[in-house]
């Protein structure tokens, strides 16, 4: 089948109906107005374990620094457990947490809580764990949230550990991410 031939002088007024046949390859270097889908990827973790609840988890956050980690883009900023975004956009927030049950607990909760006014937070995504055993066994849980960040000064998030019995631990590590958040910017708002 013959290649489609375009008249350079008529290329500003292309009619889709004449685009038939095999089109020639176009160099991406010549294209404009196209942006990469993922522009931000970042991971933060809590480096020290604690018992009981923390709403929010205010302390002991650090950016992942395990060998092989690589941040894409500017990355999040964190202050007292409140995370801010580097730019507007649609973000996927993945939260993970490991509970260690030293006493019976029927409802240990991890939530990704977001705010759109830099004040009141709503649990946008939640997961729950329970165990009757008291031998220190662990349960890992995770949940995700899709967050439309239209204003970086008002749209923030935090990670909550709620309703955790006072003897039960949220297990954390400074060597690997056991409890933490991973965030991707997947597109424009």
């Amino acid at each position: 089948m013959a290649l489609t031939k375009l008249n350079a002088r008529s290329a500003t007024a292309l009619d889709a109906t004449i685009l038939t046949g095999n089109l020639p390859a176009i160099s991406g270097a010549s294209l404009t107005g196209i942006t990469s889908g993922l522009t931000e990827a970042d991971q933060w973790r809590v480096h020290s374990s604690f018992t009981g609840s923390a709403t929010p988890i205010t302390s002991n956050w650090e950016r992942s620094d395990t060998t092989g980690f690589g941040k894409l883009g500017t990355g999040l900023t964190e202050s007292s457990g409140i995370f801010s975004f580097p730019s507007t956009g649609i973000y996927i927030i993945y939260g993970q947490m490991s509970f260690q049950f030293n006493e019976e607990d029927t409802d240990s909760i991890m939530s990704i809580a977001t705010t759109t006014n830099n004040s009141s937070y709503t649990a946008q995504s939640t997961t729950r764990e329970a165990d009757k055993n008291t031998d220190g066994r662990r349960h890992s849980c995770s949940c995700m949230a899709v967050f439309d960040v239209t204003d970086v000064t008002t749209h923030k998030f935090r990670l909550d550990a709620q309703s955790v019995a006072s003897s039960n631990a949220v297990a954390c590590s400074s060597g690997e991410t056991i409890t933490g958040v991973t965030v991707f910017r997947v597109g424009d708002t």
Binding site: G52, T55, P56, T58, G81
Partner: protein, 79 residues
């Protein structure tokens, strides 16, 4: 964290059972020794960030004694 079998083996395992909530931190998260132990300024309680109610660090002896206590409990339960 406890070892792979769950036996407490680090002073952080003791600290989390001395008080609950995020009452302590480290000056170096990769070197969790008593000399690097500090109190946090704030803790999260019921959605609010408030002053840490714990105002004094336990002594190194108290921390080590708590760790031995937890190890003894674990050993007795797992013999």
């Amino acid at each position: 964290m406890p070892d792979s079998k769950g036996r407490p083996n680090h002073i952080e395992d003791a600290l989390i059972h001395i008080h609950s909530r995020q009452w302590f931190t480290w000056t170096d998260s990769k070197n969790k020794i008593y000399a690097n132990l500090r109190l946090t300024e704030k803790v999260g309680v019921d959605g609010n960030i408030v002053d840490n109610p714990i105002t004094e660090l336990p002594t190194e002896e108290e921390v080590n004694a708590k760790l031995v206590e937890l190890q003894t409990e674990w050993d007795n339960a797992n013999d």
